[in-house]
């Protein structure tokens, strides 16, 4: 039977891996090639790479040449997100070895784009991303452009639009929890998983293996993504690449 997935989510800035908190204050984690080699040896279920510079800067093209080098180190499924807003870039990403492309900002700015991408590449190759934060009235609101444009629409409506566009998975990222290691937004995860049958990847806030297990076993996530938990260690946030053994998650 299908095993639920644990996904290191890695943030690319230029040609370096960094880690942020609440989508801000990046600290240097390491050379991407080395980091990916370590995750390869640990036989991780899947990797997700997000280019945070491309997400924030519309004029910055996706760094295909560098991503191609990273892909050559990934013998596990790889997702990419950050600054993708046209079919041709998606085609290039799949060609160099990316399995799944995450569409976040473009899904909010161009409502027909996601359905077109799904039509072209299939549901399985497209992840719909929803970055969200709690705005006035404590409502989960979708954000765009790497979290720099907040309160675009209700996050739950953004999820519905992605489901209607037939994405293969939905990636939920609570911006307020990102990098804080205080646990996932299980309430929102549960609200979404009760509403849709599309597999959900939860991201933002994992601080322990128990956080991963709770999201996967009790709150309806198909996959749990984490950054801090797998790249930083201890209160001083020292860099340490880790990955839990399968038996710790699945019993």
């Amino acid at each position: 039977m299908l095993r639920k997935r644990i996904i290191p989510g890695l943030l690319l800035s230029g040609e370096r891996f960094v880690k942020t908190r609440r989508f801000a204050d990046p600290i240097y984690i390491g050379d991407p090639i080395n980091t990916l080699r370590i995750f390869n040896e640990k036989e991780v279920d899947e990797i997700a790479i997000f280019d945070i510079d491309c997400a924030r800067d519309r004029r910055r093209p996706v760094n295909l040449a560098y991503l191609e080098r990273l892909c050559s180190e990934c013998f596990m499924p790889l997702s990419y997100g950050g600054g993708v807003r046209d079919i041709e870039t998606m085609r290039q990403l799949y060609r160099i070895g990316v399995e799944k492309v995450v569409l976040t900002t473009v899904a909010l700015d161009d409502p027909t784009f996601v359905a077109r991408a799904v039509e072209e590449f299939g549901s399985s190759s497209v992840i719909g991303g929803v970055d969200f934060s709690y705005e006035a009235g404590n409502v989960a609101m979708a954000a765009a452009t790497g979290g720099t444009r907040r309160g675009i629409t209700r996050a739950i409506d953004a999820v519905r639009a992605l489901v209607n566009a037939r994405v293969g998975e939905i990636l939920l990222t609570n911006i307020d929890r990102e990098g804080m290691a205080e646990g996932y937004d299980l309430a929102f995860l549960e609200e979404v998983s009760a509403m849709v049958s599309t597999p959900i990847i939860i991201q933002g806030g994992a601080g322990s293996v128990d956080d991963l297990k709770r999201a996967l076993h009790d709150h309806g996530a198909s996959a749990a993504a984490a950054g801090t938990l797998f790249v930083l260690y201890g209160p001083h946030r020292a860099v340490l690449i880790t990955y839990p053994p399968t038996r710790d998650i699945h019993g």
Partner: protein
Amino acid sequence: MIVIIDYDSGNVGSIRNMLHRLGVRSEISRDHKAIAAASALILPGIGAFDTCAANLRKYDLVGPIAEKVQERGAPVLGVCVGAQLMLEGSEEGVLPGFGWFRGHVRHFKFAAEQNERLPIPHMGWNEIKVQPAGASLFDGLTDGASFYFVHSYHFAPEDPGCVAATAYYGFDFCAAMSRSQIHAVQFHPEKSHKFGMRLYSNFARGSGLAS
């Protein structure tokens, strides 16, 4: 030399990367001469069945591939939709496949009384059960090997004798087919680290290439 068929429909880079890591020479190409000269072919494929089938036609590849495999007996490995194309057709589309395996590609349908809610696509790591037809392709992979799957449709071959491996997702479905030198895998060995390396290595050795 293994030729990985390039028809704008596959994760050709991932496959080349893994073969490279294994020390197997490969080339990404849609050139008819390269196909004719290859010692084995890999037919990748992601996306919709008809999109892939149409792209094969767009690049005039159906004839050269069929000739290479059917007339000249070249070893071939289909991956994901590239593997589905080896059946006669798919519920997902209207275009025909190569028909090297009798049967069609079907959408996942679960019995109504089933309580568990199984998301489609079937996506993630799943354990396989190797069947007799898979003895060579899955050599060394009979004990708890897991592979990475991403698909909404599954092989439904008519001949149970060609089933090389099954996996369980609501029911046991056919995850791999083998018939003489023709092999089809629904999962992505190029994304299944050590298990996938072993499978590509088995395919390369079975095709007379060092690995």
